[in-house]
Amino acid sequence: MMTPAGSLLVATDLRKAYGTTNALDGAEFSIHAGEVVAVMGPSGSGKSTLLHCLAGIVPPDSGSISYAGRELTALSDAERSALRRTEFGFVFQFGQLVPELTCVENVALPLRLTGVRRKEAERTALHWMEQLQVEDLGAKRPGEISGGQGQRVAVARALVTGPRVIFADEPTGALDSLNGELVMQLLTEAARSANAAVVLVTHETRVAAYSDREIVVRDGKSRDMERIV
C-alpha cells in the first residue's frame, strides 16, 4: 500500500466502466489536508470520472476510497450525499448556478441544505462572496453577471460550508485567461486560508500550475508526477 501517511483522501486501484469503455482502470490518488492537486490528462482519459468517484458522486466498480478514515464505497447514497453537503465543495465548468435564485441565494444554498436558517446562511454567504470579490453581485441573478463572476460565485458557494475538500472540474474551462487566472488565484488562496484541499481537474497547464502537485490520468490509469523527478 502506497498510502502516504496523513493523507486526507486516498483512493487505490479504482476501476469504473461505462458500458464497454473503461473510464478508470486501476487509478490511484491521494491528497493531504490543505493540498492542491491538479488532475490532468487528455479528453476522455477518465479524469472527470476520477473526480466523481473521489467525491462520492459515482460509486466505482471496484477499489477503495478512504476519506478521513471512512471508506466511501461502503456508504449509502444518502450518507454520501450528506458527506458532500458538509465536507466537500464543488465547482464545475458551467451550468451549476440555479438561474432563478439570486447570487447570494445560490451561495447560501448548500448551507440551507444542511438546515441553516435563511438569514444566517445568507450572512455567511456574503462573507465568502467578499473573499471572492463578488459581494456586490448578491442581488443579481446568474443570467445578469459575466462568466468569470459566475465562476467566482460558484467558488464562494463551494467554500461556504467550510469544506475540507473542494472538487473543481475545469473551473476555468469557459473563461478567458485573465478571468481564469483570477478565479484560480482566488480559489487557491481561499482554499489555503481555509485549509481546504483542492482536487483540480483541468487540461490547462497554466491552471495546473496553481497546484502543489500534479497527477496525470491516461487511459484510466493515474500517474503521480511528483514521484518521477
Binding site: 472527470s48 464545475f92 458551467f94 472540474d169
Partner: protein
C-alpha cells in the same frame, strides 16, 4: 418580394424545420399534433352533437302517433296502435301493439310490412337481446315470431330496444279509449317550440365551458417545446435572419404542427365516430351517421385552428427577444396591471345579472348575451390568473429550500406557468358552474317517491278497461316462481248523494291481509269494515263516512263519463260495526282515506272497479322473479302496467348529463395534465446539468422532487381556488337566471377541484422517474 411571398417563404421554412428537425423535432411536432388533434376531435364532436340530437328528434317525430291524423271509424287506411312499454332487467323497452284494419294501413317507419297476429318486428338491439342468454326470460314474454328487423329510419339510436307486436284482437272501445289510437299516418310536422330557456342556457354553457379550455389547450399545445425552438431560432438569427423573419419561421413551425393536429384530429374523430354506434349510455345511443359536424362549423374549425396556432406563436414571442447568440426574455416585463383584467369578468357579470329570473315564466334569454357573458367571465380567469400568480409568488420568500427553488422559478416566469394552468382553471370553473346549475334544476325533478320497495317490488296497476279478472291475475302472479306475495286491492268511489261533489269517499276492498298494507289493523276478520283516520288529503277522495251512512258506490261522477256503458252506481250502507283505524302508507307511498271493506261486506254488482292494484313482493335472492312476474302480467293482459317501485325518481337523463359533464371536464383536465407533463419534461431536460450539479453538492433528491411538486402545485392550487370562486359565482348567477334558489353544490366543487388536484399529483408522479434519471451524475460528464 411581396409581403405575401415573404410570409409564404418563411412559413414554409418553419414547416420544414418542424418535420426536418431530426428525431427530436419529429417527436415535438407529433406531440403538438396529438395535442391539437385531441382538441380538434373534441371540437368536431361538439359541433356534431346538435346535428346528432336533431336527427334523433326527427326520427322520433317521424314514428310518433301523438299528433298523427286519426280516423273515427275503421277504414282501408287505418291502423290501430297502442303503446305497451315494457321493462326487462331494469331496461326500458319501447313497444307497440298494432293491428291493420285495411290493406292501406300506414306503415311505421323502418318496417316493410305490418306484423300480423303472432308476429312482431324488432329493433336490432332487441333482436340481439332476445337471442342472447341474457334475454331468456324476455323470450317468454315476447314469444311471437319475428317477422322483420326494424330498419335504421325507424330507430332513434342503434341501441334502442323497440318492438311492434301484431294483433288481431286489438280494438278501440270508443273515442275515450285513450290507450288505442286509430291512425291513418305516422309522424307530424313538428312545430318546433323554442327551446326551454333553462335548457338553452345549459346547452350554451356546456359548449362554452367545454370548448374554452380546449381552445386554451390548443394554444398551449402549439407551443410544446417552445424554449428549445426559440434557441434554434437564435441560430437562424446568427446566419442572418432578421427578427421578423424568425418570428414568421416560428409561426410556420407551429402551423405545421397544427396541420398535423388537424389531420390527427379528423382521424380521432372518425375513429370515435365509428365507435360511438356500439356505445350505449343509459340506453341512449347515437348512429355514427348522425354524428356529422355542420359543414360550416367544420370549415371554421379547419381555418380557426391553424390561424390560432400562428396567432398564439406570434403572441407568445412578443416578450422574447431572439438575438443571434441566444434568447433573451425581456427580463422584467412591466408589472401586470389589474384594472383591465378585472374589467373582463365584471363586464361578463354585467351582461348576465340583468337576465336574473328570466328562466321562470316563459322568459327568453338572448343567446348572444348569455354566451358573451359566460365567455367573458371565463376568459376573465385566464387574464386574472397571471396577475394573481405574480402577486402571490412575487412577495414570497423564506420557507424550505424546495419551496424557495419553486417560488423563484415561478417568479422568473409566471407567464408560462399561468398559461398552462389557465386551461385547467377555465375547465374547472365552467364545470362547477354547470354542475351547480344542473344540481339546482335537478332538485325539481328528483323527488322522494315515498315508495317502499321493501314492502313490494312491483305495483301492478290494472285499469278500468282491463279484460282480466283481478283475482285471477293475482293468483297467476302469486304462482310465479320467486314471488312471495301478491296482494290485490281494489277501490271505488262513493258519495253521499248523486251526482257527487268534491268530497267523494274512497272505498277500498281487499282481504284482511291486503287491507293490512294500507292501515294498521289490530284485528280483522272477513266481514269487517273500517273507517280510516289520519291525515286525509283533500280532493277527489278526501271525504269520509260514518258507520251506518247510506252511500252511492261506483261511477258516482257519472256525468263525466256520459258515454261509457259502465253500470249505474249502487246503493250501499256502511256496516254499523265499522271500527276506526289509522291509515298507513301503501307500498307506493300513498296514504288512503275513506273506508276499508273486506270482500263479503263490500257492495255487490259494482261492475269493474275504477282502480285496482296488486302489490307484488318478490324473493330478493332471485333477480329474475321480477321479470317472471312481469311475464305473467303481460301474458294475462299486455295493457296492464307493472310499475317498479323505487325510493326516488330522477328525471331521465339529468344524472347522465351530469356524469357526462363530469367525465368531459375530467378528460379536458387530463389533456391539460398531459401538456403540463410534456412541458415539465422539457424543462427538466434543459436543466439536466444543473440538476446533476445540485445533486453533486449533496442536494437531497426529495428536495428536488418536492420543488417540482411545488412548482406545479402552486399555480394549480391558485388556479383552482380562482376557478372555484368564479365557477361558484357564475353558477349562482346562472341559477338566478334559471329562477332557482342559489345553493352551492359542494360535491361538484370538491369533485372538480379534486380532479384538478389529482392532475397535479399525477404530473408530479410521472415527472419523478425522469427527474431521478436526470439527477444521476451522468449529467456532469462532459466527455
Amino acid at each position: 418580394m411581396s409581403r405575401l411571398q415573404v410570409w409564404t417563404r418563411d412559413l414554409a421554412m418553419g414547416a420544414r424545420f418542424a418535420f426536418g428537425g431530426g428525431r427530436e423535432g419529429w417527436i415535438r411536432t407529433l406531440l403538438t399534433g396529438v395535442g391539437v388533434g385531441l382538441g380538434v376531435a373534441l371540437l368536431l364532436i361538439s359541433t356534431a352533437i346538435p346535428g346528432a340530437l336533431t336527427a334523433r328528434y326527427e326520427r322520433g317525430d317521424a314514428r310518433s302517433t301523438m299528433h298523427s291524423d286519426t280516423a273515427d271509424a275503421p277504414g282501408p287506411d287505418t291502423l290501430l296502435i297502442a303503446r305497451i312499454g315494457q321493462t326487462y332487467h331494469h331496461k326500458d323497452i319501447e313497444g307497440h301493439v298494432v293491428r291493420a284494419e285495411g290493406p292501406n294501413a300506414p306503415l311505421p317507419p323502418g318496417l316493410k310490412k305490418i306484423p300480423g297476429p303472432g308476429e312482431m318486428a324488432l329493433s336490432p338491439a332487441l333482436d340481439e337481446l332476445l337471442k342472447s342468454s341474457e334475454g331468456a326470460l324476455l323470450r317468454e314474454r315476447l314469444d311471437a315470431r319475428v317477422s322483420e328487423v326494424v330498419g335504421d329510419p325507424g330507430l332513434v339510436g342503434p341501441g334502442e330496444l323497440l318492438f311492434y307486436l301484431g294483433s288481431d284482437t286489438l280494438r278501440k272501445n270508443g273515442p275515450e279509449d285513450y290507450r288505442v289510437e286509430r291512425v291513418t299516418g305516422f309522424g307530424y310536422e313538428a312545430d318546433r317550440e323554442n327551446l326551454d330557456p333553462v335548457l338553452m342556457l345549459m346547452v350554451v354553457l356546456t359548449f362554452v365551458a367545454l370548448l374554452m379550455p380546449v381552445a386554451v389547450f390548443i394554444a398551449t399545445a402549439v407551443r410544446f417545446g417552445g424554449d428549445r425552438r426559440d434557441r434554434r431560432l437564435a441560430a437562424l438569427r446568427l446566419v442572418g435572419a432578421d427578427s421578423r423573419m424568425v418570428r414568421r419561421i416560428a409561426a410556420g413551425e407551429a402551423l405545421a404542427g397544427s396541420l398535423v393536429g388537424l389531420l390527427l384530429g379528423t382521424g380521432f374523430f372518425a375513429v370515435g365516430r365509428s365507435l360511438v354506434g356500439s356505445v350505449s349510455l343509459r340506453q341512449r345511443s347515437v348512429f355514427p351517421a348522425d354524428l356529422d359536424p355542420a359543414p360550416w362549423l367544420a370549415v371554421l374549425v379547419a381555418l380557426a385552428v391553424p390561424a390560432a396556432a400562428v396567432a398564439v406563436t406570434l403572441f407568445a414571442l412578443r416578450g422574447v427577444v431572439i438575438e443571434p447568440l441566444g434568447v433573451v426574455r425581456t427580463a422584467r416585463p412591466s408589472r401586470r396591471r389589474i384594472w383591465w383584467r378585472l374589467l373582463l369578468p365584471l363586464v361578463g357579470l354585467g351582461l348576465l345579472v340583468p337576465l336574473d329570473g328570466r328562466g321562470n315564466s316563459h322568459g327568453r334569454f338572448n343567446q348572444w348575451q348569455v354566451s358573451a357573458g359566460v365567455v367573458l367571465l371565463l376568459v376573465g380567469i385566464t387574464v386574472l390568473l397571471p396577475w394573481l400568480l405574480e402577486r402571490f409568488v412575487g412577495k414570497m420568500s423564506g420557507g424550505p429550500v424546495s419551496w424557495q427553488l419553486a417560488v423563484r422559478r415561478l417568479q422568473v416566469n409566471t407567464g408560462s406557468a399561468a398559461r398552462l394552468v389557465n386551461g385547467i382553471a377555465v375547465a374547472v370553473a365552467g364545470a362547477i358552474a354547470l354542475q351547480m346549475l344542473f344540481a339546482g334544476v335537478e332538485g325539481d325533478y328528483t323527488e322522494s317517491t315515498g315508495q317502499d320497495p321493501g314492502r313490494a317490488a312491483v305495483a301492478v296497476m290494472v285499469n278500468r278497461e282491463s279484460d282480466a279478472p283481478m283475482d285471477e291475475l293475482a293468483q297467476r302472479i302469486a304462482a310465479v316462481q320467486g314471488v312471495t306475495r301478491a296482494v290485490p286491492l281494489t277501490s271505488a268511489q262513493a258519495a253521499h248523494r248523486m251526482p257527487a261533489e268534491e268530497d267523494t269517499v274512497q272505498v277500498t276492498v281487499g282481504t284482511c291481509d291486503a287491507l293490512g298494507e294500507v292501515a294498521t289493523l289490530d284485528s280483522c276478520e272477513e266481514g269487517d269494515a273500517f273507517v280510516l283516520t289520519g291525515p286525509s288529503s283533500t280532493g277527489f277522495y278526501g271525504g269520509t263516512a260514518k258507520p251506518g251512512d247510506e252511500l252511492f258506490v261506483g261511477n258516482v261522477r257519472r256525468y263525466e263519463f256520459e258515454t261509457t256503458d259502465s253500470p249505474a252506481p249502487v246503493k250501499w250502507q256502511v256496516p254499523a260495526g265499522a271500527r276506526t283505524v289509522p291509515a298507513r302508507e301503501d307500498p307506493t307511498g300513498q296514504l288512503r282515506s275513506g273506508l276499508l271493506v273486506t270482500p263479503s261486506a263490500a257492495p255487490k254488482e259494482l261492475g269493474d272497479f275504477p282502480d285496482a292494484r296488486i302489490f307484488v313482493q318478490v324473493d330478493e335472492s332471485g333477480p329474475d322473479a321480477l321479470d317472471r312476474a312481469r311475464n305473467a302480467v303481460f301474458k294475462t293482459d299486455p295493457f296492464v302496467t307493472a310499475m317498479t317501485l323505487r325510493d326516488s325518481t330522477q328525471a331521465a337523463g339529468f344524472s347522465s348529463i351530469r356524469t357526462g359533464l363530469f367525465f368531459g371536464a375530467a378528460a379536458v383536465l387530463v389533456l391539460i395534465g398531459a401538456s403540463l407533463f410534456v412541458s415539465q419534461l422539457e424543462q427538466l431536460r434543459e436543466r439536466r446539468r444543473l440538476l446533476s450539479s445540485l445533486v453533486a453538492f449533496g442536494t437531497k433528491r426529495s428536495t428536488l422532487s418536492l420543488s417540482v411538486l411545488w412548482q406545479t402545485a402552486v399555480p394549480i392550487v391558485l388556479g383552482l381556488v380562482l376557478a372555484a370562486f368564479v365557477g361558484t359565482a357564475l353558477g349562482a348567477v346562472l341559477m338566478g337566471m334559471a329562477a332557482q334558489p342559489v345553493r352551492i353544490d359542494w360535491p361538484s366543487v370538491l369533485g372538480m377541484t379534486g380532479v384538478g388536484a389529482g392532475v397535479v399529483a399525477a404530473v408530479t408522479l410521472l415527472s419523478l422517474p425522469p427527474l431521478l434519471r436526470l439527477m444521476r451524475p451522468d449529467g456532469l460528464r462532459t466527455e
